[in-house]
Symmetry: C2
Subunit: 419 residues, 2 copies
């Protein structure tokens, strides 16, 4: 095995040992460490800025875009916000130890289903250095040990942040950052299912594909958001217009932004919001029926139905029925967040039941698909998977459970004396 | 792509379409189909026995053991039991549609977290043909479409059972059995994550390893049960003896049977239950300290701590403390089911919190780790994974959830008129 592989395996063993120490910590103990982490990040501000400058310099040399460089940047305000975020996590309720369910069996056994940490979590991410703090802190709050593997662009910043977190009194190896940024380090993590209980990739498709194809442990993916809004024939037109404008333009570069607008043909004439969207800089690409109504619209191709633009572009399709809308979403969507606008409760009910997506909304903007907007207090991401965690993932989704059973000597069958 | 691969891909597409039809079915509709499935299995009794005879004949020709052949056998009583089991599943409550949680946000959005089917589930299994009915029926009850891939030993029986189930009025392709039994068919399933949401391997280590190393979708494993019972120094000796006898001898060939007995050294002299176990045919293998007390015991090697005997063999280790017992279990166990016997509530509390296993019991036999004993009504298996489902898996664990959000036009930001 390569030396990188050996180092990462050793980090895995250490993470497991740290997880067992963390399982013994009370909520108060963990929260005290979190507050110390926030202080430690604040105290490290000069070092963080100096290390971040090295990443920014390298980014400029590599010719990264201004937007990319801005995402990398740490300044006093961003570091203060990072520390404040840690204090906020400290103040949230701890899901660990919560009794999810409990019941007694006729034989007297008392069964409790109790939330426990997952154990050890690998986070593989790219670009923004604040993910180092965000992810590690949420995992720590829930009693999990983390192994972080960030991207090369932010390596100096990531090392400095991880150092600041790890020096705040947490059990040894609770938070470890892999000092390598090549793909081999991801492969090494993906293989060690004896030491990592879960791996969460956050980043582009290439990164996620590498993790999915190699991982032996469970993966929770945060894939594309190809989100739809369906304007039913019974929609309130001004409401539908506001929702489309909000979902498409309020922040187009995020996963819960609108990408494809579906319009019932009975309302298309009255509704198609070309002027309002174009006035806000949105490029429209429509199916033949949409272009029959708005003739100067570009033609959408099949690729448009499966593209996450993350930009001021909107694909538009006129559909003949609710069924056709549901079928389009289930076929071409990414099962993230889809909306129906309608005053028809029965159409809304069918849409919510039959659309196979993490979040299905009636008369609300797609942009509310977010842990903060759901009231979770903190969010590790939005899962497009169906197992364990679906949709916005808060602290609760970073836990597993355990059955604790209390008896007084029950045996499955009577134990008879021999003889 | 091979023709086997193409056929399995086509089955995947059909399963997805079936899942969308199943999502529309009410509980009453599904239960009526389940009762028809039970009738269909009863009506197919002569065919099932005739097809099963081909498997039994092949098994005899291959020289399979008497025990293996008995596991394969279908007779009238077993077919009646299979059908009765389906009727029992029909009578259980349906978790689909259950509102897990609901709350209102300050902006008026009403958020519901609702149980929904997972979608499509692949089951890969070996040997016993009744798994065909058990697994397919539990998945159907929860609105999931299944693709079953059984082993070659039971292929004729499996095909006949799947035919009987599929002819009972379920939506087309709700239950499909792969007609191939080679490893290539498992690989083809493992790759098609666009069509299969989950894969559950039930069988030996080789089969599970194939699935884990190739699967792109989530896998829920039912691995070994290397289960422990720790007799603490504050144990009630007669209770501990009964629990050890029950856990080791009541049914030694199952995953929740006891494999390693840990005994606190302060009680070892008084407790070590050599005579009682030997009188029941149990072979003992002990550490040096155990052999100092029971000199004619065989020596345990390191392999014994990680072996699932599934037989009347018990490994015994004397430990110096509760910590040493917990450490042994977390290091060598399979995180399935572990027991402490003690009258000391504080020792029990630490054991339950710090042992990293799906089921942790205080003063009860390991043998109660079972969906039936937990009151789940039905069980698809016992998960040794930590994500999504841990420990006994009932109907609830065959569901996912979806966030359904009800608004009245909420936008993330005010939509201002242009001008």
């Amino acid at each position: 095995m390569s030396s990188i592989g050996e180092i990462i395996l050793q980090m895995g063993r250490q993470a497991r040992a740290a997880a067992y120490e963390l399982a013994k910590c009370s909520s108060d103990e963990k929260n005290a460490v979190l507050r110390a982490m926030a202080d430690s990040v604040r105290a490290a501000t000069p070092r963080l800025i100096a290390e971040n400058a090295k990443d920014l310099e390298a980014a400029r040399e590599k010719g990264l875009s201004t937007a990319m460089i801005d995402r990398l940047r740490l300044d006093e305000a961003r570091i203060a916000a990072m520390a404040a975020g840690i204090d906020e996590v400290a103040a949230l309720p701890d899901p660990v130890g919560q009794v999810i369910d409990s019941w007694q069996r006729p034989n007297g056994l008392r069964i409790e289903q109790v939330r426990v940490p997952i154990g050890t979590i690998g986070i593989v991410y790219e670009s923004r250095p604040n993910v180092t703090a965000d992810a590690a802190v949420l995992c720590f709050k829930t009693g999990n040990a983390t192994i972080l593997r960030g991207g090369s662009e932010a390596i100096h910043s990531n090392v400095a942040i991880a150092d600041a977190l790890a020096s705040a009194g947490a059990p040894a190896h609770s938070i470890q950052l892999i000092p390598f940024t090549d793909r081999e380090s991801v492969s090494a993590m993906a293989k060690m299912d004896q030491w990592l209980d879960l791996i969460i990739p956050r980043g582009g498709k290439g990164l996620i594909e590498t993790v999915v194809s190699q991982a032996r442990m469970p993966v929770i993916k945060h894939y594309d958001g190809i989100c739809h809004l369906f304007v039913d024939r019974a929609a309130d037109v001004p409401m539908a217009l506001d929702l489309v404008i909000d979902a498409k333009t309020q922040k187009p570069g995020v996963c819960n932004a609108l990408e494809t607008l579906l319009v019932h043909r009975d309302i298309a004439d009255r509704f198609l919001p070309a002027a309002a969207l174009r006035a806000r800089g949105v490029e429209l690409r429509g199916c033949a029926a949409a272009r029959a109504i708005v003739p100067d619209m570009a033609a959408a191709t099949d690729d448009d139905w499966t593209t996450e633009y993350l930009d001021l572009i909107l694909a538009i399709r006129v559909v003949g029925s609710l069924d056709e809308a549901i079928d389009h979403i289930n076929t071409f969507g990414s099962h993230h967040t889809d909306v129906i606008v309608t005053a028809d409760a029965s159409a809304a009910g069918r849409f919510l039941r039959e659309v196979d997506s993490a979040c299905v909304f009636h008369n609300a903007s797609n942009r509310f698909a977010d842990g903060g907007e759901f009231g979770f207090g903190a969010e590790i991401g939005i899962s497009t998977d169906k197992l364990h965690a679906r949709g916005p993932m808060g602290l609760r989704e970073l836990t597993s459970y355990q059955y604790r059973v209390h008896g007084n000597g029950q045996t499955k069958a009577p134990v008879l004396p021999l003889g």
